[in-house]
């Protein structure tokens, strides 16, 4: 059987499994409420919660993009292990404070926190809508990136039997099907299966690569001989970029709507903290592994010139598959793991997109069944737009600058959550203007071609201004109104 045929059969079996899971999830539905659809009736236990957090956090970019980055940048990409771990560290600032409030007031979306914290005044409503729009734009661009990756991986995986456009359309339709049918229950259960697939596939690939070369020590010496700059100590700008990436990823990722919704969906606080205790090890099991895979590829692929980052992993897998039937089977497993990673991120993003649009942007009630239907329609609309863009290369080219903005946008929402949770005097209007100023600065710098200034991400610079506006304005207001003074 050819690699393409093997891939097509494996893909068919995997997709059939997803449909089966969706049908079971549909049967487990309790009612038509938004809490049941978007939060699985707040009943996720440790095992499923941990795996859905894992599969959602590690996207196609983690499995396909990161090995490519490690191949291009060398050992300095070890920073990715640090910045992925910083997400679980920064969650300490969010979860212990937000969770009790969320359970008391039955939050469904991030906007429910803003509604609770800042009330229903004009500035508070504007803040909720602005944060909702920023989150929706970030989610939309996550979704688009996953759709494009899905089409590329499916075509590679089936040896071209399934062309790019059919991969995008078919897999997008499947995700929409199981998400609409089973909501977060279907998404979380399929995420659990997808998370296990990812781990098994990566472990097998690393074992093969290190076994081929003769261990990590041999890899390092071969890399040093093939490309000495890949092992050299990074320069000052790269070190600043390393630190800035830890800040950017740590802060921006804790305000992922899909992550916040999982905080609301946990069965109880104990399940949540145990899941987090496990999640903190996953960068070592995943990001470090893909980084080593990319580095081990340097001496193997150096003769091909500096490959595009997203071509490294498929190239390695093609080489591996040619080594024999057992290797072909394992390479298929890795491809399936990569596809699983992409689909698990796409489904979570789509579910959150529907919820954020319905409840936060359009202000629908979280108590009514009609809101669930409206959220599903919003998700379907989002998917339709993303598919259209994914299938139109000229649109993709035009939008690319905006697509790459997701973390820079998300990080501007941080004061409305982290600062507002820890500082009771913070007011809605200063936060609103801070978010607007930070976003404007980050977008303007990004669109003028600056991704970083002296190694520091423009999103981090925007956040610094954002916080400055929020804090100084609040303090000034307190001083003028006499609030905050001791009696």
């Amino acid at each position: 059987m050819s690699q393409g045929s093997l891939g097509t059969v494996a893909l068919g079996l995997y997709l059939a499994l997803l449909v089966g899971v969706a049908l079971v999830a549909r049967r487990a539905r309790r009612d038509l409420s938004p809490a049941d659809h978007f939060l699985a009736a707040r009943h996720l236990g440790v095992f499923v919660l941990f795996l859905t957090l894992y599969a959602t956090a590690y996207s196609g970019n983690s499995l396909l993009g990161y090995p490519g980055e490690a191949y291009r940048r060398g050992f300095s990409w070890i920073m990715a292990t640090g910045f992925m771990m910083s997400i679980v560290v920064v969650f300490h600032m969010l979860i212990p404070r937000l969770r009790p409030i969320a359970t008391r007031h039955r939050f469904v979306t991030p906007g429910d926190w803003i509604r609770h914290r800042f009330g229903e005044g004009r500035s508070a409503v504007q803040l909720r809508v602005v944060v909702g729009v920023l989150m929706a734009v970030a989610l939309g661009n996550f979704l688009l990136a996953q759709l494009i990756a899905m089409g590329l991986v499916a075509a590679e995986f089936t040896g071209g039997l399934l062309p790019y456009w059919a991969g995008v359309l078919g897999l997008a339709a499947l995700i929409l099907f199981y998400e609409t049918l089973g909501g977060l229950r279907a998404v979380a259960w399929t995420d659990a299966a997808q998370g296990i697939l990812m781990l098994v596939g990566l472990a097998a690939l690393l074992a093969w690569l290190l076994g081929e070369v003769g261990g990590l020590d041999a890899v390092t010496r071969q890399v040093a001989a093939a490309r000495p700059e890949a092992v050299a100590v990074p320069d000052a700008r790269e070190k600043l970029n390393w630190a800035s990436s830890i800040v950017l990823m740590g802060l921006a990722s804790v305000v992922y709507p899909q992550a916040i919704q999982r905080v609301f969906a946990a069965r109880d606080g104990a399940a949540l903290k145990r899941s987090m205790a496990l999640m903190t090890f996953m960068p070592l099991a995943t990001t470090l592994v893909v980084t080593l895979i990319g580095i081990a590829a340097i001496p193997r692929l150096e003769h091909l010139g500096l490959l595009e980052a997203d071509r490294v992993m498929p190239r390695l897998l093609t080489e591996w598959a040619a080594a024999g039937p057992a290797a072909a089977g394992l390479a298929t497993l890795v491809f399936l793991g990569a596809l699983a990673a992409i689909m698990s991120t796409a489904d979570s993003v789509l579910l959150s997109l529907g919820a954020v649009m319905a409840l936060d942007v359009f202000g629908r009630s979280s108590e009514e069944a009609d809101t669930t239907r409206f959220g599903k329609r919003m998700a379907a609309l989002g998917m339709l737009v993303a598919v259209a863009v994914a299938l139109a290369p000229e649109l993709r080219g035009t939008l690319w600058g905006l697509i790459e903005l997701k973390m820079e946008l998300l990080i501007q929402c941080v004061p409305a959550f982290l600062l507002a949770l820890h500082w009771g005097r913070l007011r809605a209007r200063p936060v609103l203007w801070g978010v607007l100023v930070g976003t404007l600065v980050a977008v303007a710098l990004r669109l003028s071609g600056h991704t970083r200034i002296e190694g520091v991400h423009v999103g981090v610079l925007g956040l610094a201004l954002n916080m400055l506006v929020a804090v100084t304005w609040t303090l000034r207001h307190d001083r003028e109104s006499g609030a905050g003074r001791p009696a």
């Binding site: 920073m79 560290v89 359970t103 008391r104 007031h105 039955r106 092992v231 050299a232 205790a277 496990l278």
Partner: protein, 77 residues
């Protein structure tokens, strides 16, 4: 009393995590310098990996010590 001790230990663990993050970036080495091999990796990479492994353990302990409580739902009744 036990809760206060756990909170103190958790704070200490998180401070240690912060310090390890600072050490993980090779500020202590000149850019472009050729490294020695340690644990099969360039020495500055091995330091970062050891820091991240230690952060994982300390952060995991900090999560297990954290108080993530559930308030009963407010039904308005």
């Amino acid at each position: 009393m036990q809760g206060r001790v756990a909170t103190g230990v958790r704070r200490g663990l998180l401070v240690a995590v912060g310090v390890l993050y600072v050490i993980s970036v090779p500020w202590y080495r000149r850019g472009g310098a050729e490294p020695d091999v340690w644990l099969g990796m360039p020495d500055w990479v091995a330091v970062a990996v050891v820091c991240y492994a230690a952060i994982a353990v300390l952060n995991s302990l900090a999560w297990l010590l954290s108080d993530v409580s559930d308030a009963p739902p407010d039904d308005g009744s």
